[in-house]
Every structure is written in C-alpha cells, then in structure tokens.
C-alpha cells in the first residue's frame, strides 16, 4: 500500500540535484528496458531498476533510502547505455546510495571499504610480507599508506554510523 501522506514529491529533484542535474530521471516512461537487461535482476527479482526509478518518481523517499535493494546495483551500466530516454540509471543508484549513507543507512560492506581507504589510502593493507613477495617476483615495492588520502577521506570516515 502506498499512502500519499508518506510521499515526498521533491525526492526526485533531490536525487537529480545530487548529481548536478544530469540524471534525466523525470524522462523515465517505465518501458522496462533497464530491468529486462539487468544481470542482477536475472538472478534475484528483489533488485528491479524500473521499480526503483518509479519509487523515486513517486516520492517514496524513506522506503527507498532504508532499503537493502539500492546496494544491489552491480554498476555494470547496461541499463544506462540502453535506456531510450537517456536516464542515467547507474548514476541515480550512486546518488541514492550517497544520500542513504549520509542519513546513516549504509551497507556494512561499504562501511568496511571506507574504513580501509580512510586508514591506508588503499583498499587493502599492504604488509611487509606483500612487498617481500613482490621483490621475489621482480616487482617494485609499493607504498603502504598515503597520508594525503587519509586526510582527504576524513569526512568520509565518519559516514556510516547506524541510526
């Protein structure tokens, strides 16, 4: 059941503004090309890009931002490339996840990725063992931490406390 009292008619503009207004989200006429070609949807129908766009256009802000499904986009850009209305679906999914994260709804997998990048400036911690292995393979050593990246991600590191 959708109750019009729960809808936020400005949500679509909020999403569009998130990415500099190039999402073309209001052009969507629900043809379903996105869902038809989606490799995630082929495996599990709880991810359905057409439905997510519809929910955004209807203003179902809370249900979208608190959902698990927005984290399931594999960002393959198939829908983005095929959309006849040039709706930038993959960017819209990124915008939704960005807004959700700011409001404290963040998937644990991404919280961990943020922690690593904020701690090292890399997605993996490089240990002495790794550089020794690289040396044996004839590869140059790589830097372990990047102070300036740690500095740049300071704001991001705080993102993701559960509400």
């Amino acid at each position: 059941m959708i109750d019009s009292k729960d809808l936020d008619p400005n949500f679509k503009y909020e999403v569009a503004a998130e990415m500099g207004g190039e999402s073309n989200i209001t052009r969507c006429f629900s043809c379903g090309t996105c869902t038809a070609g989606c490799p995630v949807r082929e495996i599990d129908d709880k991810y359905n890009p057409r439905k997510i766009i519809r929910m955004v256009l209807l203003g179902m802000r809370d249900r979208v931002l608190k959902s698990d499904f927005i984290w399931l986009c594999s960002s393959c850009y198939t829908c983005y490339d095929r959309c006849p209305q040039n709706v930038h679906l993959t960017d819209i999914m990124t915008a939704l996840k960005n807004i959700a994260a700011r409001e404290g709804y963040i998937h644990p997998a991404f919280r961990e990725q943020n922690r690593l990048v904020s701690a090292f400036g890399r997605l993996y911690e490089v240990e002495d063992f790794d550089n020794k292995k690289r040396e044996k393979l004839g590869l140059p050593a790589v830097k372990k931490t990047f102070k300036d990246v740690i500095e740049l991600t300071k704001k991001n590191a705080s993102v993701g406390e559960s509400p």
Binding site: L72, L137, L139, F146, L152
Partner: protein, 293 residues
C-alpha cells in the same frame, strides 16, 4: 611510448601475475612504464557512499600524473572507469573543480585538464595496433581456444570511452587474442557482469551471476577464459572452487589475464608471466603449447 602505470589496490597484492605479464609484454612491445609511487587507491571503493570524496581521491591521482605529463595506463577496469569519469567531470564542471582544487592545494597539487587515461588493453589495441603486435609474434597459439570476458567498466558507459569499441558487440579484445593465432569462441550472454561489485553486499547473488557465466563459457570447450580486470578474475578464478562446491559443478577453467596470453605468443617464459600464481593451473594449456612451466 611512455605511460604512467596505475596499479590500483588489488593488482599489487592479489594479482601480481597480471602486473608481471603486463610489464614483460610492455618491454617486448616497446612500451615504457613509469612507476609513480604516489598513486593511491583510484577512488572507486568510496564512490557508492561518497561521490565527492571519490572524486577527490581520483583528482589527487590525476594531479600527480599531470606533473609527469604521461598518459595513465590502467590495468583494472574499475580504476579506468573512476579516473576517466573524474577527468571528464572535472574538465566540464569548473565549480566542482575549484572546490576540489581547494583540498588538493593543501598537498601542493592541482587538477590539470587534458590528461588521458587508457586501459593497457586499449593501448595495445589503439596506440600499438594489432598489425604491429602481429609482427612480434614468435609462438603462434594455434592449438588454443579462448573466450573473452571484457568486464563492464572497460566498455560502458559508452560515452565515457569515446565509443572506441561497440559496447553491445565489442571486438577489440577478441582481435587482440586472435592475433596470437588462437581461436576465439563466442558464448551466450558474453556481456553480462561478473557480479564482483556486489560480492561483499550479497555473495549468493554475486556467485550465481559468475556461475551463470562460467556455465556459458565452459559450454564452448575453451582452454581458458581471458580477462582484463582483477575484479572479474576474482569472481571467475579465485571464487571458482567456491562456486563449484556451492552449485555442485565442475569447471576447472583456467582464467588468464590477456598479457599472459600475449606474452606466451611473444615467446616469453610462463615463469616471467606469473603462470604459477594462477589459482586454476593452466598446465594442460601449456602442455598443448609444449611450453614447460
């Protein structure tokens, strides 16, 4: 031909064989890689939750590259995508660039327009060219059959990559494989995603996505799958055993990085190309070629 080699996070610690092969192939082809120690994570891992921070990290790398002035050569599709996108956004959006430059200035860096970012496979295809590569082939891989997985961010979104290949019917990497003398086999749903980006979000869905691809690829009796992205390889090779036990299937499908395949054809030793780091051993394939590992 000089390029700044961008390794990213995954390759230096989890796909050293890709890096070894790329470096060896580059030497043979006449490409010089400049190592820039200060290249960090590309920014992709934080894009989902904080686009602006992702742009800052990407811009930092681009600014560092601009000091040297060489085109960036990437090996990972995700790095290619995020760096290219950031480059385009910051070239177009002056307001955002000013904002990001403010942060970069603390480290004496500034975004510079005009830099190019290219995946190593695209460099081989566009800047070197299939004909030039053909001249260097000393060991024809005629007995071998391969299928290719491009990986989404190599081709899409089309507008990001100047339409250098047809995203709905690509042929560039197949041409690069075919020049070695090997046969390239097409397969069902070739362009479908490996699932790598959601492995940490919902493993069941991600593994099912990779499983479906492995089913389609192995229907063709190929000697190996050829990839150009470490994330895709993690799905098809590192997770192959897990997929086999979860779905009660047997694949035993070697997964090679393209430079490993090209390296063989260029006469390089499998040791130099990191074959012993491949988790699914390519022993039979090397025996067919009568090369000892």
């Amino acid at each position: 031909m000089k390029y700044a080699l961008f390794l990213g996070c995954t390759i230096p610690v989890r796909a050293q064989h890709y890096e070894m092969a790329a470096r060896e192939v580059a030497k043979k082809i006449g490409i010089e890689f400049v190592d820039i120690k200060n290249f960090s994570c590309c920014g992709f891992p934080v894009k989902s939750t904080d686009m602006e921070t992702s742009l800052k990290i990407a811009a930092r790398n681009l600014a560092i590259a601009a000091v040297e002035g060489y085109t960036i050569c990437t090996l990972c599709n995700a790095c290619t995508s995020v760096l290219t996108e950031a480059n385009q956004i910051l070239n177009k959006n002056k307001e955002l660039r000013t904002k990001i430059d403010k942060d970069l200035k603390k480290f004496d860096l500034e975004f510079q327009p005009g830099l190019e970012i290219k995946h190593f496979s695209r460099i081989l295809y566009e800047d070197v060219g299939v004909d030039k590569i053909r001249e260097k082939i000393v060991r024809e891989l005629t007995p071998l059959k391969f299928s290719v997985h491009y990986g989404c961010h190599y081709l899409r979104p089309t507008e990001l990559y100047d339409c250098f290949d047809d995203a709905e019917s690509p042929s560039s990497v197949e041409n690069l494989v075919a020049v070695t003398g090997a046969t390239v086999l097409d397969y069902k749903n070739k362009l479908d995603c490996c699932g790598g980006a959601i492995l940490g979000v919902e493993e069941d869905i991600a593994l099912a996505m990779a499983k479906q691809k492995l089913d389609h690829i192995t229907a063709g009796q190929v000697d190996a799958l050829v990839t150009i992205c470490p994330f895709c390889t993690i799905m098809y090779e590192d997770n192959q055993k897990k997929i086999e036990s979860k779905f009660n299937a047997t694949y035993n499908l070697p997964v090679l990085y393209y430079p490993q395949v090209l390296g063989l054809a260029l006469g390089l030793d499998p040791k130099q190309l990191g074959f012993r780091l491949n988790k699914v051993k390519a022993k039979e394939l090397l025996e067919k070629m009568e090369v000892v590992q």
